[in-house]
Amino acid sequence: MHNQRPQTQDSGRVVVTGIGMATPLGVGKEAFGSRIFSGESAISDIRSFGTQSFPSHLGAEVTDFSPRDFISLKNLRRMDRISQLTTAAARLALDDAGIAVNLANRDRIGILMGTAFGATDVTVHLAETLIKEGPSFVNPILVPNTVLNAAAGNASIELGFRGVNVTVTHFAVSAETALAYAIAEIRRGAANYILAGGADILSPFYFEALTRFYALSPGDGKTEACRPFDRDRNGMVVGEGCGILCLESRETARARGRKPYCELTGIGLGSSPTPPTQWPTDPAGIKRTIRRALDNAGIGPEDIQAVSAAANGGRVLDAVEAAAYADIFAGAKAKDGPAITSLKGALGESFSGGGMRACALALSLGKGAFPPTVGLAEPLRPLAFVRGETKALPIEHALLAGISFGGTYVYLVFSRCHGEEEIP
């Protein structure tokens, strides 16, 4: 079980050749990259709806986004916001990978998207009409957008790719699971190129719901802020956005002469019995899943230089995740252990934000730089957290962490590609 991946040929090795982003820190990898690596945060007062009646007011919203730059008017009219962000990011990822969808390749291009909540506000609106006015008043135009796979479907209609098309919805590991599934599909040869990532959007309804679950900062009534791994953290801040990677086999990338950002070398999937909607309190599930990912990549904890963490400023999650790292990397002195950062300090918690974090990690491997955890002042444990500014760090292997309430875990190993310089 959980042994090294069986394929060693290039056809079974999965690389990242494109990055597409529509995020609170900008649209496109250039805008996002310049801001995330300079340690900026996208968190500020929510502007898209009023928060006066709530104890929380902060969020990370996608603001400078013009859907018309990416989507034809004909299709745009049918799309809600999550479909728009997804379609834009998918287009950017294809462009970045140098792939033009055409009659010859469209059946071998697919999409695997994660979304925790989809277009919740559309469903709520439909329910409201039904309850207040009755079934005859339900608008059929709204219906397709209430289905969680709408974003992947709309992206395929706009961009014309017709291969494998699946939507994963498993709370805060939706995007990481979609990536894991996509890696398996490329290894299996089910498609030549798969766009994989996640998208979720901020809506008044779901903001209120999170408020009522007491999940948001300031849970202790003190200062509202997102402070992953900090001693004084007091809850999450919500975000939104979409991040998508273009995955293909090393063989096809080589044949096309594309230099990949990185290789995806290991998958770890796991669970631990946890009450619904609650965060796990025992690090055992996280540790087990990390070991599975490392085994799958054929490496050990000592080979990891960087961890893109799941911590969101919540009391329970951050503590259990840090405890797991303290144990897993116990062989190394704290300061020599892998660099750890949570980009949720800059992007907030958007549940399927694993897509955006995966994009950032691919950029980090390419640049040899690892961004800081914005908001982290006093670490809750002596681990090698990146604070203040981006750390110059050549990364051979890194972990992308996915942890969800309900006790679900996904860890992925991102590795540097070697020998690609010779590509003609």
Binding site: N3, S156, T169, A184, T408
Partner: protein, 416 residues
């Protein structure tokens, strides 16, 4: 290339409009029972249609032992967990051996999730205001709730996956669960789908005018749309070697699957049938089979005007002249269309057909449609010794999934 691990099905569980368990389902499929009738789960006043494939008198405690608290579970959660317990019993794995939990996972395809309960929450929110609405009831609204319940109640430590590709969710999970075992990410998987009857979903299909006011009539000239249903269907998947080693009864094998997208329209299938054709072709290729190897097709067969003609055309395209020699049925004529569960439910139908040696009928059929000119098994179930069965699931968003099931390996323990 090393040889791919063969993955077999050793346990099944279901609750649906015509059966409370698999043995009842086998009998009902053989008899051609119709589970479509007047809905009493909610008020259907003001709808174009008042019928559906509802599970009657569903009492969770009849299916779920007292050790599992029912608090805050949705109808989708109840159905999924009940089907899971039956599948584990059926596989001889209940109570679950402690040593199996480490590498056992669960993959569930969802649809409406907890929207039945969600509607009553929204209703409170609108009528009583947010101060009085119990937001904790939202905890079971999302599809992943069913998956989380199963894993946590059973103490599973393996992968936990929830897919939502609308009406193909339950088929796609079977393929991915197979691959999770093949790839070494799990030693054994529970995989299936769950779908509750609920007013919000019913209203959506009502608004799209896709419901037949009467019972649905797949492939019939006068078919007037689909009937909505509810179900859960869950299977136990494991490698053939481990099933043989523990002397498990084997229903059949998951030979292959294919997933494609129409990239055409969110709610209407591509009338050129490209997505459906490619899904069947991809599943055949993944199975290492040719068109001559398929002995029965469990059709998507929703009974919408477009789907049934499109699907028949796709089958003709994939199978050529042999299309006319392959018996096909839409068991949605009996169970109604169970959306997110349908792919898994029809997976069970396919395995029942293989293990019990009969092909279930398409009921409610009266008048032939020249565009649907294949053999739809309209005169009752037919006995047949089947080698491989192909099952189609096409969905909203243009998502198409085909799964191919094979007969149990020769010499393995079969069905009693």
């Amino acid at each position: 290339m090393h040889k791919k691990k063969r993955i077999v099905v050793t346990g099944m569980g279901t609750i649906n409009a015509i059966a409370n368990n698999v043995p009842e389902f086998v009998r009902a499929l053989g008899e051609g029972s119709c589970g479509i009738g007047e809905i009493d789960l909610f008020d259907t006043t003001g709808y174009r249609c008042r019928k559906g494939g509802q599970i009657r008198n569903f009492l969770p405690r009849r299916f779920i032992p007292a050790e599992f608290p029912l608090k805050r579970m949705s109808r989708a959660d109840f159905l999924a967990f009940a089907a899971t317990l039956e599948a584990l019993h059926d596989a001889g794995l209940y109570p679950l051996p402690e040593a199996m939990k480490e590498d056992m996972g669960v993959a569930i395809g969802g649809g409406s999730g907890g929207l039945l309960e969600g509607e009553s929450f929204y209703s409170d929110l609108l009528q009583k205001g947010s101060g009085k609405a119990h937001f904790s009831r939202l905890s079971s609204v999302y599809c992943a709730s069913s998956t989380d319940r199963i894993a946590t109640y059973l103490g599973l430590l393996g992968p936990k996956i929830t897919l939502m590709t609308a009406c193909s969710s339950g088929a796609t999970v079977l393929g991915y669960a197979r691959d999770l075992i093949r790839n070494g990410q799990a030693a054994i998987m529970l995989a299936g789908g769950t779908e509750p009857m609920c007013r919000i979903t019913y209203s959506s299909f009502n608004a799209l005018k896709s419901l037949d006011p009467d019972v649905c009539r797949p492939f019939d000239l006068h078919r007037g749309g689909l009937s909505l249903g509810e179900a859960a269907a869950v299977m136990v998947l494991e490698p053939m070697e481990s099933a043989l080693a523990r002397g498990a009864r084997i229903y059949g094998e998951i030979l292959g699957y294919g997933v494609t997208c129409d990239a055409h329209h969110m709610t209407s299938p591509d009338e050129q049938a490209s997505g459906a054709i490619r899904a069947m072709q991809a599943a055949l290729k993944d199975s290492g089979l040719g068109p001559e190897d398929i002995d029965y097709i469990n059709a998507h067969g929703t009974a919408t005007a477009v789907n049934d003609a499109m699907e028949s055309m796709a089958i003709r395209e994939v199978f050529g002249r042999r299309a006319y020699a392959i018996p096909i049925s839409s068991t949605k004529s009996m169970t109604a269309h169970t959306l997110g569960a349908s792919g898994a439910l029809e997976g069970i139908v396919s395995l029942v057909a293989l293990a019990h040696g009969f092909m279930p009928p398409t009921i409610n059929y009266r008048d032939p449609d020249p565009r649907c000119d294949l053999d739809y098994i309209t005169e009752g179930a037919r006995p047949a010794a089947l080698r491989a069965v192909l099952s189609n699931s096409f969905a909203f968003g243009g998502n198409n999934t085909t799964v191919i099931f094979g007969k149990r390996p020769d010499g393995s323990a079969g069905h009693a």
